[in-house]
Symmetry: C2
Subunit: 246 residues, 2 copies
């Protein structure tokens, strides 16, 4: 049974970090979406037992904090391991054997930057979302009964298809529980409904720019992993400067 309109919290979608400032997020849970690959990697690391992931917004901070805490540093710039860091942003690397019980400091081109933007805008709560943990994300959003902003990390503020598709997938699952007074949400859902039978083929057919970039780096396996639902189905929630299993 769906709730009466007035009882429902509001769900908005931003397709680029540049649009976050248009919304007051102080009463909203912000879902950080960076499908290729930051938020997929975060879900995978937590699913495989990582103690915590500390997202930082620069390579310099990542190196510094890694030394201070004596923990693993990882991150990429422009789709490749950033200079001075130990590991990259490929979810397949974060196996249980490698990451169980460990803490990771992570910086990425788009996703971790957006997380810090949401923090500076005083988001009520922050979680990260990916196809890898889509059910955990949707369950959490339904249970919280709070306003939601689905926030696509995009590529250097330029809208991308894969993050938009994930926003659409979430909307498609939970829309009955929320007021959607937002054209961007409708656009995202429409795109997802077109793509859902084969997300990989859709990205290929549309020559999605970051898909194309990663394919050139030989990362097809990464992409396929990042487009698979619930293969790392844990909630990733931000608390006291760390992303932890919810």
């Amino acid at each position: 049974m769906s709730l009466k309109k007035s009882d429902r919290p509001v769900l908005n979608t931003i397709l680029s970090p540049s649009l976050l400032e248009l919304y007051d997020v102080s009463d909203s849970i912000v879902v950080i979406i960076d499908i290729l690959r930051a938020t997929s990697t975060i879900a995978t690391a937590l699913h495989n037992g990582a103690k915590a992931i500390i997202p930082v917004d620069s390579v310099a901070k990542c190196i510094k904090l890694g030394k201070q805490l004596e923990v693993i540093t990882a991150g990429e710039r422009n789709g490749k391991i950033a200079e001075g860091l130990q590991y990259g942003n490929t979810p397949l690397q974060y196996t249980r054997e490698f990451i169980n019980g460990k803490t990771l400091v992570l910086t990425t081109t788009n996703g971790t930057k957006l997380l810090h933007l949401a923090l500076s805008e005083n988001a009520k709560g922050i979680i990260t979302g990916s196809f890898c943990n889509i059910s955990a994300v949707c369950d959490y959003l339904i249970n919280q009964k709070s306003n939601v902003v689905l926030a696509c990390a995009a590529w250097k503020n330029r809208i991308n298809i894969e993050d938009t598709l994930f926003a659409g997938a979430v909307i498609n699952r939970i829309k009955e529980r929320f007021d959607l007074n937002c054209d961007a949400s409708q656009i995202a859902q429409s795109l997802y409904l077109q793509a859902k039978n084969d997300l990989f083929e859709f990205l290929k057919e549309k020559d999605a720019s970051h898909f194309h970039r990663l394919m050139k780096f030989g990362l097809e396996e990464d992409i396929r992993f990042c487009l698979t639902e619930d293969n790392a189905n844990v909630l990733s929630i931000y608390s006291n400067g760390r992303l932890v299993k919810g």
Copy 2:
């Protein structure tokens, strides 16, 4: 016969004015898109013989310039005639009997603001686009062989469906002549292909926010007019502070 990839100019799409700054428009023709209703009204007024339309970015400037030049003032804020102005933003008002040979000073919530933003970013050229003059827009863009930015006026920087649909319609017509290295263009075209059989029904079904706002004001006829291809098929080009028939 399509051109070789390297010979083609680049076409990008911005779904909100907030994203214009991501592109260098100094080598691009910027197409201002504000389907409901500024750019539809502009095409209609020019088609029906208006001498020129002077777009201004505030109601105060509109009133002042209207007095100085002794010309018609028009404009809206939030979908209604702005206080102190004579006429609104309904294309149906700008009949040949009314507007032929006259000059109009116009200000609107989104479209005229975006035009001034494109000016301040030193756009190489500026035209306005709407379904009412889509063929003239596409012919011009093909003939210019220049880079293009399709710029959606959106609603107070929030992405809207109708402007996105128009960008998609243009892309669908001219994409063979341009390099599309832009996910937003792909998203717009995908949305248009879903909607094209009945744009009005698509906006209704998706509960598009500004569509909904105008329907509440009883403006269904306006909306239907604004979604009709080539019913005011003239080029609207910005030159020396004025939009004139190209």
